[in-house]
């Protein structure tokens, strides 16, 4: 057995990675003694930021990390708060699902609620802060209309009418009760969102039981791929909860790598999977595994190498991802339509983003230049 980390060598920024890994096979040890108050405060803030309060509370309850009575009480209270929010979000999800089903809109539950119930041994270990659903491109406008009809409002206007349905990631809406609902057409904006076979994504669902309802989610392989997208592309500094999802599915389920990678290669996203696994294993400091060995040895093709930069470089922005998306649009007429839609934005969208067409064109040129200079 690996000796528990000694207190004087411990940094909260390292401990939080071990907290994120708590309960997984091959997870690193946690400090056996309670952290000094200052270090605990930092650790607690990191756990809150990365939605890891359930795992922190479980680590304390399991005796895996030392804690004073006050620290334990704080972790427990934070866990309760996180779970209260999850229940309210699930209720909102049930209402959203009922509305979609009544309107004949096919959908899939994504991320938090699906992963919590289907991939974690206890849904109380996985916190989430919003709802994500995936709908077919053909049903995208209907889905937004249905949500508007029950009082939801879109947070950001569309670049140009029809852009989202054709090329976009989706839209963020805020329901009447304040719940944030992300309506996805694909996993991400930009090139990797444009190469996914969306019809394949919506094939056989896996059913998630929430309350006494069965809601359709993605199958495990697609759920894993989405977790990798979220971990590898979602934020410049990947959220630990996203990295935990990647490791959780690999280490606690019988994931067929051949099936996953065949699907990822069809979607030109095998480099995304490799990046996510490398990040998860490094940040959570997990013991070497056949998946981590595969990820370390993986090399990306030219398209994926260039596409990854739109999400991971210093100049990462929605603009650079949108411009980089041009490389994934297949035909010349489509490319022309795509760039026209980005540049000739709807006046309402323009007013909130660039304020003038001149500014917008200059911003696009900078994004295009950034995209080329990093290739």
């Amino acid at each position: 057995m690996t000796p528990a980390a000694r207190l004087e060598t411990v940094r909260p920024e390292d401990v939080i990675g071990a907290v994120a890994a708590h309960g997984l096979p091959g997870a690193p040890p946690l400090p056996a003694e309670a952290l000094p108050d200052g270090a605990w405060r930092t650790l607690f803030d990191l756990a809150t930021r990365d939605r890891l309060t359930p795992l922190l509370a479980r680590a304390v309850a399991d005796g895996a990390i030392g804690a004073t009575a006050r620290q334990e009480a704080q972790a427990t209270a934070a866990h309760e708060q996180a779970m209260r929010l999850c229940l309210l979000l699930e209720r909102s999800l049930l209402a959203t699902s009922a509305g979609f089903e009544e309107s004949g809109i096919m959908y899939r539950v994504l991320k938090g609620p699906a992963v919590a119930h289907l991939d974690y041994p206890d849904p109380a270990l996985r916190a989430f802060g919003d709802i994500d659903v995936l709908v077919a491109s053909s049903a995208y406008d209907d889905a937004l209309a249905q949500l508007r009809a029950v009082g939801a409002e879109r947070r950001f206007s569309e670049v140009r009418p029809g852009f989202d349905r054709r090329w976009g990631k989706g839209a963020c809406v805020v329901a009447a009760d304040g719940t944030q609902i992300d309506v996805h057409r694909t996993f991400v904006a930009g090139p990797f969102g444009l190469t996914i076979d969306l019809d394949e994504l919506l094939l056989m669902p896996e059913w998630v039981e929430i309350g006494d309802e069965l809601l359709p989610a993605l199958d495990r392989e697609s759920r894993f791929i989405h977790a990798c997208f979220h971990a590898a592309l979602g934020d410049r500094v990947p959220r630990l909860v996203a990295l935990r999802d990647v490791a959780q599915i690999i280490l606690t389920h019988d994931l067929d790598r051949d099936v996953v990678m065949a699907r990822a290669r069809r979607w030109r996203a095998d480099a995304v999977i490799a990046r996510a696994v490398r990040l998860a294993w490094a940040r959570l400091r997990l013991a070497e595994h056949e998946w981590s060995r595969w990820a370390s040895a993986h090399t990306a093709d030219r398209f994926q190498t260039r596409a990854l930069r739109a999400y991971t470089s210093e100049s990462r922005s929605y603009a650079t991802q949108a411009v980089a998306g041009l490389s994934a649009v297949r035909t010349v007429p489509e490319k022309v339509a795509y760039m026209h839609a980005l540049l000739a934005a709807d006046p309402g969208h323009l007013a909130t983003r660039d304020r003038s067409y001149g500014r917008r064109i200059r911003r696009a040129a900078r994004a295009f230049g950034a995209n080329r200079s990093e290739s």
Binding site: P54, A57, R58, V60, A61, E72, T76, A77, H79, E80, M83, R84, C86, L87, L88, E90, R91, D122, P123, A124, I210, G211, D212, E213
Partner: protein, 92 residues
């Protein structure tokens, strides 16, 4: 005298458990509620339909206390859970 109708936790109730107890959101509830102490044990005992006398007897045996004490402890909690729809009669 008719047999007491078994009670159980409503399948539509959303809930999670941790060191804090059991937090639940009933179909008719506006806010989540948290059960602690005997409330948590009561929630688990209602996983399947159980008559009130059997519920009380089971908890009394589990905790080694007399049934009258258990009845006094769980009555207000059970009444509230039924009021918000988190616990329902089996025939519902």
């Amino acid at each position: 005298m008719p047999a007491p109708v078994p009670l159980y936790r409503a399948p539509s109730t959303l809930w999670r458990e941790g060191r804090f107890g059991v937090v639940l959101l009933a179909p008719g509830g506006s806010e989540p509620r948290t059960l602690t102490g005997t409330g948590r044990d009561l929630w688990h005992a209602l996983a399947r339909p159980v008559s009130r006398p059997d519920l009380v007897a089971g908890l009394a045996e589990a905790f080694g206390v007399n049934p009258e004490r258990v009845e006094a402890d769980i009555s207000p909690v059970l009444a509230e859970l039924q009021r918000i729809g988190a616990v329902v009669p089996e025939e519902a």
